[in-house]
Subunit: 152 residues, 2 copies
């Protein structure tokens, strides 16, 4: 199954990647925005639980996960907008449990680049499964040469 | 402008990539399917004109290009479905101007992986522009480590 195959032990399928994005939407982005605004630099953010998605995605189809993403992202963006952040807020700081001090501005940029990292990964995971089916065209298809930049 | 910046001389922006996908939709995929079915192995496919998009995209916004893509892809898929291909058709052959003999099956698989190759590229081109803004999180964002697998 195209959306359920991964890249080997401890790697993610398209299904897992969407589950991870949903989990980040629920547990990570807006909760960390609020932590910065409400608590500042202490305590540090809760670590991202990369296994929470297993329970959250259980029994769902990919279509359901995509519907969830659509709803969760809309809710996040509405909540972000409702904060009426000003440019001075962007310099406010929090503490990442592994990386140390970070700013709200860095968190918001990371939110976008995190999407793009997983889109990058997802395109590779899905393309790789057709590496033989494309025949001689594989020479022209750069994604098939991606070995993963040490995941994702 | 996020969607107009590229990766340097002779590389593509997000806008260029969508223009390329549209150009392939107009000039490449279904025309090559028809060439295989109608003409077989001779003559070879017309070479893909990577510059046709410059004229096709001229004066358009990214939103217009995305609307075009939505319409063109729907038209392509409807045309493909209307062919009522049977499994024996998938082995029919055409001639790629550079790669030589290819099958209809390989062409259809390449259509999908070509999308994914350019999604892979697009995620990199867009993410790279925020490599500084993410601060220390860059260590966790694999897409920022992608150097392009010799384009795309």
């Amino acid at each position: 199954m195209w959306v359920l195959n991964n890249e080997g032990k401890d790697t993610w399928s398209a299904f897992d990647i969407v589950g991870h994005l949903n989990s980040a939407e629920r547990n990570d982005w807006m909760p960390r925005v609020r932590t910065i605004l409400e608590n500042g630099e202490a305590p540090a953010f809760d670590p991202f639980d990369r296994f929470a998605q297993m329970k959250e995605s259980e029994g769902k189809s990919l279509e359901q996960l995509l519907d969830d993403f659509n709803r969760l992202r809309s809710e996040s963006l509405a909540a972000l907008q409702a904060l009426n952040l000003e440019s001075t807020d962007l310099a406010r700081r929090g503490t990442h449990p592994a990386l140390g001090p970070v700013t709200l501005s860095e968190l918001l940029a990371t939110w976008a680049v995190h999407d793009l990292t997983h889109l990058h990964q997802l395109s590779r995971v899905m393309a790789y499964q057709y590496r033989d089916e494309v025949g001689p065209w594989s020479a022209f298809l750069g994604v098939l040469k991606c070995t993963g930049h040490s995941a994702p």
